[in-house]
């Protein structure tokens, strides 16, 4: 039997970067951790990101690849919640996040909807001088909500090259970045 798709809403946290518009996670999203059976909270920016890079080995090819990938980043933020059942968060909560991701600063590059599993995935990019300066993913499923915000020049080719290592699935960067 197919595993029920968890509602994963990727709440895109647009972290403050340069003169970028601030995007904040609504308080009611953060509070979802109290209802979740499992949650992931990653907040790595500034000095902590540099510290992480320092402890990534230059001599190990895999770690060097991650080090190169994060070298241009200013912050990495993830909120991911898995719930016991549907209905633990509302569409309004997710819409409040999407509302922050407006043109001209943000562009929605991909929008995927699944009628079968109720899975919605949005990918937003922030462009500066025709280069990606930020990425936001919102993946919303009935029982899972995931938000990813990567601030800085994320190189999707480099991210794709990490596929198969560290438990990172292989990603075809060309498919997303249309």
């Amino acid at each position: 039997m197919r595993r029920m798709l968890c509602a994963t809403a990727l709440i895109v946290l647009a972290a403050h970067a340069a003169q970028a518009q601030d995007i904040t996670i609504p308080v009611n999203i953060d509070r979802l951790s109290a209802k979740a059976v499992e949650s992931v909270n990653v907040t790595v920016d500034g000095a902590l990101l540099q510290l992480a890079a320092k402890f990534l080995s230059q001599s190990d090819p895999e770690q060097r690849a991650v080090k190169n990938l994060i070298s241009n980043l200013k912050g990495v933020y993830v909120r991911s919640f898995e719930f016991a059942g549907p209905g633990e968060y509302s569409d309004a909560d997710v819409d409040a996040l999407r509302a922050q991701l407006k043109a001209p600063l943000w562009s929605r590059m991909v929008n995927v909807r699944s009628t079968r599993g109720g899975e919605n995935v949005d990918v937003f990019f922030k462009m500066e001088k025709e280069r990606i300066a930020g990425l936001v993913l919102i993946a919303a499923q009935p029982q899972e909500l995931t938000v990813v915000n990567i601030v800085g020049a994320i190189d999707l080719d480099q991210l794709a090259s990490l596929g198969g290592h560290f438990g990172i699935p292989k990603v075809d960067a060309g498919t997303v970045h249309k």
Binding site: V112, L159, P169
Partner: protein, 100 residues
């Protein structure tokens, strides 16, 4: 045969020095006797060891704390990239599905 770790702990367990050891040391310290057979080379090595050992202890503690924080941050970054790549993979699969 016991586990190797267990056996190594047994083989390398602490043993007491010969009886009267502490008293002999205290006597030598009290009489200001210099260590036996202290060659110039051993004195230099002892000085290096003393300097190394006398390094600001807090520096060691701070470095250890930094290392723990760095390793934790590294693990978080990798986890974040794993989640991101996983979600992008879903997008890719959907796009392919639509295209087929």
């Amino acid at each position: 045969m016991r586990e190797l770790d267990d056996e190594l702990r047994h083989v390398l367990r602490r043993e007491s020095p010969p009886a009267g050891f502490a008293e002999r040391v205290a006597q030598r310290a009290a009489h200001g006797r210099s260590p036996r057979r202290l060659t110039r080379w051993l004195a230099a090595a002892a000085l290096v060891a003393a300097i190394a050992g006398g390094l600001e202890y807090r520096q060691i503690v701070t470095a250890r704390a930094e290392r723990a924080a760095g390793e934790a941050a590294k693990a978080q970054v990798i986890q974040a990239l794993r989640i991101t790549a996983g979600k992008l993979q879903i997008v890719r699969a959907k796009v392919r599905e639509v295209g087929s």
